[in-house]
């Protein structure tokens, strides 16, 4: 038995991929360090929170192939818990965000447990239904403040001495959460576990036949995604000093899908680019007297038709083909 055939496909791509990612990450970090001096800090912080939210969502759609239509439940839960922890329990802002993330993770375990064995559209529908249940709980429960939400959340003092009411320390706080969250997600994608996720996404039946309990792997990913989304929600509630029903509506679940698809699913940078575009558009359009959702929807349709892989996805595709 001898193989006498042409040379294999280029193996060099693997090495360049990771150093390329590192360079891009450093470039983005440099931009983000300069950003609060160039733009309104609250705007940049909002972008960071939504970028992290979308990146958490992207872990599922991009690397497990699961389209969650209820991720606002986790974002909103994290926002409410962090808000409550900071305002009522007077906890350290970092502890508040971490508690928000943990709360989202626990909710993710419950939702994931019920949804994870469903496939395709059924998975999306169950996550939507369960997130609507969470929404109604938020409307009814006393601690969320109903229609008013939780307002006037104190940003507090990080570690007891860094005053987060100052814009730059607050920005540094949110940037640190963002960087840590993005690093965690990147690490998961490039971990032994991430390798199994890719295998499951590629060929689920084959992964089962190799002895993997695929539901367990998907559930772990789901819980991590929910926890990171909730931490993003927690950070957002401290930035705006507000946690409200808006954070937990199905429209918010739709917005994170939009951000991710626009930026490029399955890319590390896509959710960040998507968040920059969508948040910028929303802020700009809010100053005009036009129906924002309709416009965003139209732009979304145009983008999906023009670049199927999302903006970062198309760029990566173009670079890979050169």
């Amino acid at each position: 038995m001898t193989t006498t055939t042409s040379a294999p496909a280029a193996p060099a791509k693997i090495a360049s991929g990771r150093s390329g990612e590192l360079l891009t990450a450093l470039g983005v970090l440099a931009l983000l360090l300069a950003a609060p001096f160039l733009f309104y800090p609250v705007f940049v912080m909002k972008v960071l929170c939504f970028a992290l939210f979308a990146a958490a969502f992207n872990l599922l759609i991009g690397f497990v192939g699961l389209l969650s239509f209820g991720h606002a439940a986790f974002f909103g839960t994290g926002a409410y818990i962090a808000a409550h922890a900071a305002k009522v329990w007077h906890l350290d802002p970092l502890v508040a965000v971490v508690l928000g993330g943990l709360g989202g993770g626990v909710l993710g375990l419950a939702v994931g447990f019920l949804a994870i064995k469903r496939k395709g559209i059924y998975f999306s529908m169950i996550t939507l239904a369960l997130s609507q249940m969470v929404f109604f709980i938020a409307v009814q429960a006393p601690f969320t403040g109903g229609e008013d939400g939780i307002q006037g959340i104190p940003r507090g003092h990080l570690f007891g001495f860094i005053d987060l009411n100052e814009p730059l320390p607050m920005y540094g706080f949110v940037l640190a959460i963002f960087v840590f969250g993005m690093f965690a997600l990147w690490r998961i994608v490039h971990s032994p576990f991430g390798q199994i996720l890719k295998a499951i996404r590629d060929n689920e039946a084959r992964a089962i036949s190799l002895g993997y309990d695929v539901a367990r792997y998907k559930l772990i990913a789901f819980v991590i995604s929910a926890a990171v989304a909730a931490a993003a929600g927690g950070a957002k509630s401290l930035v705006f000093q507000l946690a409200s029903l808006t954070d937990i509506t199905w429209q918010m679940s739709g917005e994170v899908i939009l951000i991710t698809l626009l930026g490029g699913i399955g890319t590390i940078l896509g959710p960040v680019v998507g968040a920059v575009i969508v948040i910028t558009l929303e802020n700009y359009l809010a100053t005009l007297d036009v129906p924002v959702t309709v416009l965003i929807g139209g732009i979304f349709v145009a983008c999906v038709l023009l670049f199927r892989r999302g903006i970062v996805g198309e760029i990566e595709h173009w670079l890979a083909r050169r």
């Binding site: 294999p8 971990s191 199994i196 089962i208 190799l210 002895g211």
Partner: protein, 252 residues
Amino acid sequence: MSPPDAILEARGLTKEFLGFVAVNNVNLSVRRGSIHALIGPNGAGKTTVFNLLTKFLTPTRGAIVFDGVDVTAEQPAAVARRGLVRSFQISATFPHLTVLENVRVALQRKAGLATQFWRSDRILGQLDDRARELVAAVNLEPYLHAHAVDLSYGRKRALEIATTLALDPVMLLLDEPMAGMGHEEIDRVVDLIRAAAQGRTVLMVEHNLSVVSHLCDTISVLQRGEVIAEGSYEHVSADPRVREAYMGMEEA
């Protein structure tokens, strides 16, 4: 009762799809260490039998005993962990992983390197030596870093076998491992299967009767969901019902 040297036994195995009986009361006994073929015309129910044996489908009736354990109620992944590992009729690789990564995925579970999400995947490098050996054994070494999706059909099959062998399974179930291959590739896969069968049991679905006659110890013939004959190639090929069924197969 079951013969003492049977590694896999199906008793009264039946599968109905909304009233359509795809597999009907199949009794199958595969002897430990043998290469056993399951043949029959298209639509006879061979793939369904495989799906039942590996628990990818739940039987409507019947029992499956593997290596002395009743696995009828087990999950497919659990059956695989017992060492009963299948391939698929449509070749089953991880298309966007490289050849090396494909084999490594199979090695990761036993090495305890499957759920760690906090570590760098560089640690998987410790599996590379073993993975390379397995890849070399199926002559795919030149393609170590090629993506599975880019391989020819025959090489995908070879990769599938290397991945399966990485689990060091007790028994292999191969669903049409040579379908759609040219002569040269078939010879190569026959050699691979023969090598893989060393110290193992193989149950395979195969259409190519000349391959079956050379490779397999026992043949079961399935038609319309039922076993109509079983035994050596000489025995089975002399059976008039098999000749009739086989003529149908030739036409298809």
